[in-house]
Symmetry: C3
Subunit: 652 residues, 3 copies
Amino acid sequence: MTRPTLGVCYYPEHWPESQWAEDARRMSALGLTYVRVGEFAWSHLEPEPGAVDATWLRHAIETLASAGLKVVLGTPTATPPKWLVDSMPDMVAIDEMGRPRRFGSRRHYCFSHAGYRRECIRIVEALARRLGDHPGIAAWQTDNEYGCHNTVLSYSASALEGFRDWLKERYGDIGALNDAWGTAFWSMTYRSFAEIDLPNLTVTEAHPAHRLDFWRYSSDQVATFDAAQVDILRRFSPGRLILHNYMGRFADFDHFKVAAEHDGATWDSYPIGFLSERREREPEHAAHFVRQGDPDFQAFHHDLYRAAGRGRLWVMEQQPGPVNWAPWNPAPLPGMVRLWSMEAFAHGAETVSYFRWRQAPFGQEQMHTGLLRPDSSHDAAVAEVSSLVADIASLGTFEEASQAPVAIVFDYPSDWAWRIQPQGADFNYSDLIFETYRALRRAGLTIDILSSRAEDWSGYHAVFVPGLFAWTRETLKALSRFEGVTIIGPRTGSRDRNFRIPDDLPPILPEHILNARVITTQSLPPEVAIDAGGRNGHFIRWFETLAHGDGVEPVFNTPEGPGLLRQDRIRYLAGWPDTKLFDRIVADVAADTGIAITALPDGLRRRELGSWRFWFNYAPTPVDIRRHGAKKPILLDGPVLKPAGIALEQRG
Amino acid sequence: MTRPTLGVCYYPEHWPESQWAEDARRMSALGLTYVRVGEFAWSHLEPEPGAVDATWLRHAIETLASAGLKVVLGTPTATPPKWLVDSMPDMVAIDEMGRPRRFGSRRHYCFSHAGYRRECIRIVEALARRLGDHPGIAAWQTDNEYGCHNTVLSYSASALEGFRDWLKERYGDIGALNDAWGTAFWSMTYRSFAEIDLPNLTVTEAHPAHRLDFWRYSSDQVATFDAAQVDILRRFSPGRLILHNYMGRFADFDHFKVAAEHDGATWDSYPIGFLSERREREPEHAAHFVRQGDPDFQAFHHDLYRAAGRGRLWVMEQQPGPVNWAPWNPAPLPGMVRLWSMEAFAHGAETVSYFRWRQAPFGQEQMHTGLLRPDSSHDAAVAEVSSLVADIASLGTFEEASQAPVAIVFDYPSDWAWRIQPQGADFNYSDLIFETYRALRRAGLTIDILSSRAEDWSGYHAVFVPGLFAWTRETLKALSRFEGVTIIGPRTGSRDRNFRIPDDLPPILPEHILNARVITTQSLPPEVAIDAGGRNGHFIRWFETLAHGDGVEPVFNTPEGPGLLRQDRIRYLAGWPDTKLFDRIVADVAADTGIAITALPDGLRRRELGSWRFWFNYAPTPVDIRRHGAKKPILLDGPVLKPAGIALEQRG
Amino acid sequence: MTRPTLGVCYYPEHWPESQWAEDARRMSALGLTYVRVGEFAWSHLEPEPGAVDATWLRHAIETLASAGLKVVLGTPTATPPKWLVDSMPDMVAIDEMGRPRRFGSRRHYCFSHAGYRRECIRIVEALARRLGDHPGIAAWQTDNEYGCHNTVLSYSASALEGFRDWLKERYGDIGALNDAWGTAFWSMTYRSFAEIDLPNLTVTEAHPAHRLDFWRYSSDQVATFDAAQVDILRRFSPGRLILHNYMGRFADFDHFKVAAEHDGATWDSYPIGFLSERREREPEHAAHFVRQGDPDFQAFHHDLYRAAGRGRLWVMEQQPGPVNWAPWNPAPLPGMVRLWSMEAFAHGAETVSYFRWRQAPFGQEQMHTGLLRPDSSHDAAVAEVSSLVADIASLGTFEEASQAPVAIVFDYPSDWAWRIQPQGADFNYSDLIFETYRALRRAGLTIDILSSRAEDWSGYHAVFVPGLFAWTRETLKALSRFEGVTIIGPRTGSRDRNFRIPDDLPPILPEHILNARVITTQSLPPEVAIDAGGRNGHFIRWFETLAHGDGVEPVFNTPEGPGLLRQDRIRYLAGWPDTKLFDRIVADVAADTGIAITALPDGLRRRELGSWRFWFNYAPTPVDIRRHGAKKPILLDGPVLKPAGIALEQRG
């Protein structure tokens, strides 16, 4: 049982010291609890090489603490100062085209650079020694948004050296690498690890095993880079939470690995900014939700990062108004800031922290709104935050997120694998996962995300494993012990971990689990869809022809063969379903497993938290939730929810 | 009172000397007055380093002069010879991606390169000393189309060095720069000017103040580069006009600054080539005017460059037929060459010069038509030029351009600022200005363009100031003294000159002028429009929520707040109007100020010059101008104007 | 009289030696005759520098030969090993942006690099000496798909040096080059060959004559590179065919020149892969044939390469199922593999060889299907191959391709010229040729392609010469002696070979041949079409205004002038016809020359081979060929052809 809290991101180095106390007072008066500071302040902490001086930061922390606020202190390693970059110019990342990515914005470093890692350890230790035991500090944030601006993969000399060592460690001798990768193809045999280059600037695409290993290496560098900071913080600032703020729609490194060393996971939620990325693919959808954000996008990330955080979730940055970085930046519909915040709590978040306190009148993000305008007046979100504070108070303590009836397995390397080899231009792993999630949400379900390292699925009625490129030992173990229904495919188990098609053909499962194999794969251009029969919808983008043996029966067929196979509690899905077909598949699984579902109308979403069921209206029109299964008494805004309305009921 | 003249661009170095006299004779016979020569002839003037020999050019000038023609001599600095580039390879510009922009076409130089500047001074002085006092020379053109092919911004070592010096000059000490830019953001604090890089190849966008200053620096280099030539020409060739040929739809440097040192301004008018740039955004419009050009594009540039030339305007290059450089190059509708030429005179041009005399059968522009075909036969435009010569003769002397009833303020740095920080993908300053201009033209108005350095607007009924990113001292002065109606916004006054949002929020005007401020800004994706009420049209692309106090009243409202505010003679426009709303706003302003307007049909345009009113039909169908307010007697083609028709009447 | 054979591509180095014999047995049992091996095996042949060991390859060849198969041995020069690249890093090509194109895929070499040429001679000689007299070897393939992945044009130091020498050889002295190119334009005069750069990274487009000469030089390097291998193979492996496998839709080098030294020509036919390139331009067409491929694409390339091979044609790689390299990769409609193969034979192919025997489970092409799946089971194509073997047996010997009634002249440099100077964004020479070919095919005609070096057209009723940028001596000779009808234009003869517009204007033909000239050229944007009158269709993309004199009459007119001129047996076509107009022009020519035509319905195509007439149904619906002129008795699948059906009849 917990009571959710609110927070805000604050940059004392942007404002006169004389203003800090008043800011702190107003934060506190607004009902905020946490304040994140410091994550871009290196040049203020160490204006000259070696001259670390955190006096001002101590003063800021104390000012905030005096007002009753708790500080989340960011390590400043996402923005090394100019003098540091000048002292070792090769610390910057090199882009895929071979160009240095220079100073002048942020994240101008290569994760593989040993010299920069030493500098990070130095500054973090300096900060932790000076401030780590300060009672005002409740938590740390390492760096900021790892990978932002496409910074995980760097094609630098440091990365090359590190990659060769990593390969040597992984394969032992070069012959093993040649065998594993299959370098017989196109005469790519290597005689030593020293012959191996980074997989960029090749004449045509580089070898997929080469690329996947470089991605794994690069992901590992993020984890190693982070771990060095965690070590120091655990040592010099014990008892504080260690967190990182991940991003939405971003899978360039294995977040489960980084978060495993932390005390939870947080993410930065910009619903409208992210929606704009869907404008091209889903123009009508994007137009419909242009001021609300996608109704499933936030939910998905809450569930994903709650998994990464092993149950502990924050929103470290919450959009409070128009942002500056999307192609177009409209204002949220009134009420959405409150809705987004409450939805995070419904998904188990402990804290929602707004980005940022006061809009900066200078710099790259000057058009990013905050809670206050540059003149310190209240911007639009403040009234919604006040209302939310009252809501929270009225609801009392919140239960913790309980196990959902259904789950989806998420695997970062699968995202890399299918970006390396999509085979169809629109086959994207994260999209496939998200389409699966959406289908379950449209049915009114509460969903958990499971790591591909989870080895116990007990308690779920059904688990979906779409597009997992190579089985993990843990997933196979979980699958074999699982008593619920598992829906695998398409493309699941279609490679071994060296990016080879298995000798026995996908999906590489023993006959007693699934006596079937994929004999043809097709990617389908937008003008081709395969009819799943009658009112069932279609397969789009991807379809596999399946051969099957004893004990397997098709659930339904298409003109190109079975659309869904069933063998006991295992299902294999032959392709990428469109919306209609996805709904049918979810309905079938629900019927099989006895899960209660409700077809929700456009924009209405619900989520269970302990004994509560929340309802959220993302649609631009009102909706009466009683028509969709809600029963009185209804708390907060219901039962007729206007746009951005929230309701709450006790589960039956 | 003046009589317009015609001219042509000629390349004696492309043809045998034996042909020159006959060419000159035919030019003269056609009724041409001016001949531009020499602007790409450096390798013919100095075939070996140091061996300047202008004998052939003198002979060409004398041949032309003997036929009664006046010469405009171009300095050849847009095309340095290969030997010169080889002697200092670092003189070429560096593109944003860090690649040298090499010899092999034209404009292969960096404005910041001191060595190349010296070479330019040398060759211009050599030419001016040899030919500057020749009576056949009536004018000089410095260089050619500054900035063409994206050459203003160069990321070279010379530019870096120059930029650092320029910053030092501007800010004095580095602390002032840090304060002005706001380098506290993302730890970008600099310890010295030597730490500052050029703002390219950064991980994500560079700091906007950094980028704007680099743009200002780069624009200044163009002016300085030009001024060195002007100095020499004034000294060695006194009494001749000094001109430069600017381009259409191009604002990469401050043309007002360069033109301030000259004796007028000229531009290169390619109506059909430029129209093709609008195909993607306005496909139906582009299809409708595919052989005529946009009906407002030429007019706008005539008015802009007449302002830059402080009343003196030429068209230095006029499209005579299909060009070679647009994606597609159709032929003009018969009559358009005559129409475009006469329209230039209606906007105050003294001379219209065709590009070029004879189509070159070789080189990059071999598909660019001229007055003559490669075989010296008449190409299609010749008959229109002959007709035009007769028209001019029939009209007698022309009056000079008189002050228009309305004006628009144009500011080059605002174009840079909003390209640096559009905030909405389609927010473009030049487009906003042009949409404003179009709206006034659709109402039949004659328009002036005012520089943002103009400090006196007296005589105008109304002045529009859209999108001016930062107030200039002069504009504020003009505004405060102005007795007409001023329409400012959107986005006007939203930054200080260091690219900061003002502490008191935009538009930074004292309460007695405008007691209102912008409290939210939104960029609107194409699927979102804000209803301006009833028959009023919509705001698109951009909308600002305005708070206002005593003395201010909304002229009309939208669901998101006031669309237009009024305080005495000041109006503030909250967003980017669509066509319908723009028409409504113009109509309101006209009603307020007593300006007579007429809603012109598609493609029909008019322009007043002294006591004359010209009518031009850009539409592909005939139009009877008597239905739109023209009164007999009507000169030239009217009253029923066929496509490309021109009419003329005495103003009432 | 011949009997067609089948083959397959095989990579013994990808599979255990123990598997080879069984593979060979199954190939033979399936009815295959040829097996291509070795073309990517350099690192297996020479695992350490200098240690060439072809023992394994000899063993593979013997294993195949023992099973009755004939080997086509590829030289491995498309994939030099890593150690070789490391030994001379400057051997890689440099892309247009100046970046090295590195090891890690294939074709990582520059054709101009002398060191690499020596290495190629060394390895080819080593192979030829060791295996050249082996009786199992029936043919050689030099390298693999010259130019694939955009590798003809390389901007390396080697290329620069070679280009300067080539220019010196061509022009003798620099003055001749300056005159030929027309370097007076934009001061591009050169003082020596050493001043000439490669035409990349220029500020705007480089000089067209410069670019065309660099393209000619680059094409020549391919021929020279290839010739060195041919010399060795002729010497050490006499009596074997020497071949190369060309690509579809690819004209970056002069294939006629390379093939002239060989014993025929082969190409790699991927009908569905190539169709996807048309999705953007012809979306409905691409959707209609998404699983069949374009109905004319294969035919065109068979005819083109049969011309290049002087009558001898193979398909070296035939698509057997989904490929890996198109944006989307659907499966062929059942029957298409058989249809494509038989169609090749109908066009005179001797052999069709499938790519590849067994799908590789590793490497870049792991998603490319073969005849066998990775688990060695039969993939979908095997049944079709079996059926085809039976078809061939049932038909007995095939006649050779006889002369067609009509022909089209194809010229590689014209493709380069119009890519250098399209003037209209969609003016593409290969497209124009293909549209002409399609129009003739829609009329049911059998077509020959003629090289622009062919000097005898006798026997044809009509020859089309569209878009030939500069007359070749041979084409002029053929034209002047030809007794059939010649249709030239648009754009034919519009330049001399130095890329100049001729002094007398295009199309540079003597009056007694064609007393007409082009006086205006227009490229037409998609929204503009010129009506060819009544039911005649329109000109699109390109139109020329023609002046004509005595003896010339318009066949039909447009509002912009004549659409087609006629003078005796010469026709000049003024623009790019749309489908309807092309059909009308073909019908007129047929009527003039007495060729019998039949308007074929969508997807039905026919082709005559000796006394046979083949019918192929590419449409997704059945068609009764008796309605389109077929007469009983009909062999194979007719008379009602289902999708992918093939029929055969004796010509009347």
